[in-house]
Amino acid sequence: MCVLMPAVVSSNVQQQQIRTTINKHYNPQYRRHRGAKIIKIDLPDLTKEKDDEMSPERMRSKMKEKGLQPPRPWNERNFYISNSGGVFEPYVPPEGDGKLSAVTVEGAKQKLEFVEKKGKSMMAVRKIKSYDDDFTLQDFVQDATEIYKNAHEALMNFRTNKEKLEEFVTEKAYVEMTENAKYKTVSWKFHQSLSPPKVVHARTNSVVSKDNLFAQVTVRFHTQQSLCIYDRFGRKIYGDENLVKDVLEYVVFEKHITEQYGKWRVHHKIIPDWMPASEPIPRTYRKPEPLPDLPDTPEEEDKSSDSSTKPDVAIATA
């Protein structure tokens, strides 16, 4: 039944004769009748259009074709505001903080800046005390250090134990901490505090309704830490186990004070503009193509660090 058709493949070097079989019937006269034997059906092309890639209009037209009604939105889920979405009036750390020696005039001044003397912060602290009688800044600072340490230790094992991290970290901070760390192994160690942690800022604010208060307190930590990050395959990509670095951080702790079971949790980390950028990961990447259509697109800077894998922990050398 098959016809052996010689095919000539020409190449620069030599000509080869290749014989192939062709799926063609020897009698083309009844071609159409042979084709009519098969009942044509609409075969779906499942690789071309995927549901999640389809635009809503296309989806709608397809549903119309099939005679389906659009799905009924069933939004019966309650939502609970367990943390405020952002930071109320973020603290602006003074430039040169942590670099001045206490012996100089400026250094001494910095050391003596008490949060009690600042008006708004003082009012906020008073507000917190009205809801929590035992609240003192001295005790709070000790608790804050513990929470900070526990949060980072929980981050190391967060894949196996999510609840532990949620205990010490608000939902906003959870996303920021874990998003890039999902497929990486973090090895973090707290060595010591270089100077006692200090409360530098406090604010309270209500969310949605007036009696739903959140309190945020910013604590300044000047500590020694070591960080090492391994990628998914166990290869070291950042830092070193034995390299200890001085870290100056301003960590915002938040508590839902109007709630009976509210706890102080790490909420945000303030990275001032004057802080030197963290060490980039020694990996190259291809510069993305500039978008040709938009006239207002700024020129892409030639960065040597990969922003997608930048660690969340900002490490600064003091």
Binding site: D51, R159, R235
Partner: protein
């Protein structure tokens, strides 16, 4: 046109194999592929654990150890074609570097090779963006295979009022790209003469004579 008008008319009245199940059923499972292609394809999207391999986190390596090569697992579900024919094309790219594979696939005349090429390009992008592969050319195809998916049954007419079944097959294509240079032999290499001799000698020496003095 048709020689057997009555039969074709009768057949046209039969429900299409792609008829949608009750709207209520598709809505209760949420708006997914069941709305379009019947419950058949929504349930069968290929090996469920293939993509999970991209999420496994390996423990940190010791300082002296050789770095573990990065890999990315990618697949395409429900590609239409004959399983036995597609198998050859999947085998074709095994052990090639990604660049070589893309080049070779461009010049293959089979339809599935175009699909394989797209999948390889997607996988390459994934490797660079998600799996931390630095150079996109530094990849080779470690695993490339297919598995059977659902199929749709069509019909064809035979002589003497007999009907035949046509299967429109759908298969899933899986590929795993690994970082680094491909090994010299992807399959078990044929042993050389020396090796065969050594094996023979070992077999001979391993013989044990029972009930001997």
């Amino acid at each position: 046109m048709s020689l057997f008008p009555k039969i074709t008319q009768r057949l046209c009245g039969l429900p299409s194999p792609l008829s949608i199940v009750n709207a209520s059923k598709s809505l209760s499972c949420g708006l997914h592929t069941s709305a379009w292609h019947g419950a058949k394809f929504s349930d069968d999207q290929g090996g469920r654990t293939w993509f999970l391999r991209n999420e496994k986190v390996f423990p940190p390596q010791k300082p002296g150890e050789e770095p573990r090569p990065a890999f990315v697992c990618h697949m395409r579900s429900n590609v239409r074609g004959n399983y036995k024919n597609m198998w050859y094309q999947a085998c074709f790219v095994r052990g090639m570097t990604i660049d070589e594979a893309l080049k070779q696939l461009s010049f293959q005349r089979k339809q599935f090779c175009a699909d394989i090429k797209e999948v390889l390009l997607e996988a390459q992008e994934k490797a660079v963006k998600e799996q931390g592969v630095e150079f996109k050319s530094n990849l080779w195809i470690a695993e490339s295979f297919i598995s059977k998916g659902s199929h749709i049954k069509g019909m064809r007419r035979h002589a003497r009022m007999r009907m035949g079944e046509i299967r429109y097959q759908y298969n899933h294509y899986y590929v795993r790209l690994e970082e680094g240079k491909p090994p010299a032999n992807v399959y078990n290499p044929k042993p050389s003469g020396e090796e065969m001799l050594q094996e023979w000698l070992e077999r001979m020496r391993n013989r044990y004579v029972r009930i001997s003095f």
